[in-house]
């Protein structure tokens, strides 16, 4: 059983390698102009060159920094606000409908407002990324708090627990699957908004790098940047799902 999984995985990698091979072939035969489509060899060479002698590492770190700060601020604010709104039925009925109205808003539409407030600065990027990444967490926390088994609250009342103790000992653990799912969604949002902000404000990062490469028609550098962004997206999603599995082990380990 385990072996057959391995074989399938190998076959799947072979198919992917086949795609890269045909990409190389298309580029070599110049079916598409090399201005638009560099072969994987050139993209790889540009990636290696960027890391060894260029400033690609700085750009990568810049993007990761924007993402991490915005996401961190959003996580704390989202969970705190969500706990506040979710733990009181009155707050829920007054505030939640407004949040539901705001949820489908394309977040990037606040970028002009943020530019008007902060200028083309790091704080603008931080504000936009945090504002965008807060929604999944905020709504997930509210939902998680609202869905806590009511009997747990009854237990807490008969134990005379304080409101803070109820939040930390009952509501937060019980809402943690929702919150973690929200955090995973917002990592993706944070990455996309980081790239957009870097493109618009010329902040140091991969977004700026790919735009400059495109403007100068350096397609190999451009593809190297896009590949790196894909790697960031893949690794952050992978890390989040591993953390999620780890933290939620208690749920499957029986009661």
């Amino acid at each position: 059983m385990n072996r057959s999984v391995l074989y399938w995985r190998a076959a799947s990698f072979a198919v992917a390698a086949g795609f890269v091979g045909s990409w190389q072939l298309i580029a070599d035969q110049r079916l598409v102009s090399p201005v638009f489509l560099p072969g994987p060899d050139r993209a790889w060479a540009s990636l290696v060159r960027g890391f060894t002698s260029g400033d690609l590492l700085d750009k990568l770190l810049g993007t990761l920094e924007h993402m991490a700060y915005g996401w961190f601020v959003a996580s704390i604010a989202g969970i705190a606000l969500g706990a506040m709104i979710g733990s009181s039925r009155r707050m829920r009925s007054y505030v939640a409908p407004s949040l539901e109205f705001l949820r489908p808003l394309p977040v990037s539409a606040v970028i002009p407002v943020a530019i008007a407030m902060f200028g083309l600065t790091q704080s603008m990027a931080l504000f936009v990324i945090a504002f965008g990444a807060i929604w999944p967490m905020l709504l997930a926390t509210i939902h998680g708090f609202a869905a806590v088994e009511p009997r747990l609250y009854e237990v807490a009342r008969s134990l005379h627990m304080s409101r803070l103790a109820i939040i930390f000992k009952i509501a937060l653990p019980s809402a943690s699957p929702d919150i973690l799912a929200g955090m995973r969604l917002s990592v993706t949002v944070a990455l996309i908004l980081s790239v957009v902000c870097e493109i618009l404000a010329g902040l140091d990062g991969l977004g700026h790098w790919v735009l400059l490469s495109a403007r100068a028609f350096r397609s190999a550098d451009l593809f190297a940047g896009v590949i790196l962004l894909g790697v960031i997206g893949y690794l952050t999603a992978l890390a989040m799902s591993m953390v999620e599995k780890r933290l939620l082990k208690w749920r499957s380990s029986g009661h």
């Binding site: 992917a16 638009f36 489908p104 394309p106 990037s108 539409a109 993706t188 593809f223 940047g225 896009v226």
Partner: protein
């Protein structure tokens, strides 16, 4: 007891009233904020001179064209992968390698290959829409009651008929859910591309308003974009409930 519907309106009304009073009290001169009355006036003005309608049309055309193209590709691939598990296993690495690329990262590639305009925006929207539809369709087709497939075999339906008469109807509620999620993504990506670089549509209009130091017009566009997003989402949700009943909303967490 105040009815729920009115409770929901109290907060926005209070915020608007406070903003209006405060803006008048301090004779607000700002590049980023404007009193709600001025925003409403700018909204009406933009509707009257037609600029709002043209921008809305451009954005919606790009979003829906991208949704149709990306949706068709995602649907076809999703059904194929769902019917043939071999195919699914072989494509796994390829799909997992391409899917995490943020759609907006393709913007510079689309820009040098296609230039400014509809085509570039539609391409990016289509790329973003393929994935949710592909993944959810694959799951929906894979989760079809095996007996339905047995029935189709017993009836000796041709493969095309099997897809048309058994698989698509059985998976339709979840496919519609996928389309609803993708429609939201399409609008978001379209506006984002316009704000970042493409000089058409609502995104470009809101950037122009900001650069022209017209906070009232900028916030009017922001409100309008939010309203479109809300109406799109609500409309599709109502359609979903109407077409498939409440059962269709089970497992809908996003």
């Amino acid at each position: 007891m105040i009815p729920e519907r009115i409770k929901a309106l109290l907060l926005p009304i209070a915020i608007l009233a406070i903003l209006e009073i405060w803006a008048r009290a301090v004779h607000l001169q700002s590049d980023s904020l404007a009193p709600p009355s001025a925003i409403a006036a700018a909204l009406v003005e933009a509707f009257q001179d037609g600029s709002m309608l043209i921008a809305t049309r451009d954005t919606l055309i790009s979003a829906f064209a991208g949704l149709s193209i990306g949706g068709a590709v995602g649907l076809a691939c999703g059904i194929a992968l769902g019917i043939f598990p071999i195919f699914d296993r072989l494509m796994e690495v390829t799909i997992e390698a391409i899917r995490p690329i943020p759609s907006i990262a393709l913007l510079p590639i689309a820009l040098i290959a296609l230039g400014f305009g509809y085509r570039m925006e539609i391409t990016i929207v289509a790329f973003a829409c393929v994935w949710p539809i592909l993944i959810l369709t694959r799951a929906a087709v894979g989760g079809i009651e095996p007996r339905l497939i047995e029935v189709s075999r017993a009836l000796r339906l041709s493969p095309a008929d099997r897809v048309r008469k058994i698989i698509i109807p059985a998976a339709l509620p979840r496919i519609f859910l996928a389309f609803r999620l993708a429609a939201g993504i399409a609008l978001i990506v379209a506006v984002t591309v316009e704000i970042a670089i493409n000089p058409i549509g609502l995104g470009a209009a809101i950037m122009t308003a900001q650069q022209a130091l017209r906070p009232d017009l900028m916030l009017a566009y922001l409100f309008w974009i939010g309203l479109i997003g809300y109406l799109l989402n609500t409309g599709l949700m109502v359609a979903q409930r109407h077409l498939f009943g409440r059962a269709a909303l089970v497992g809908d967490s996003a």
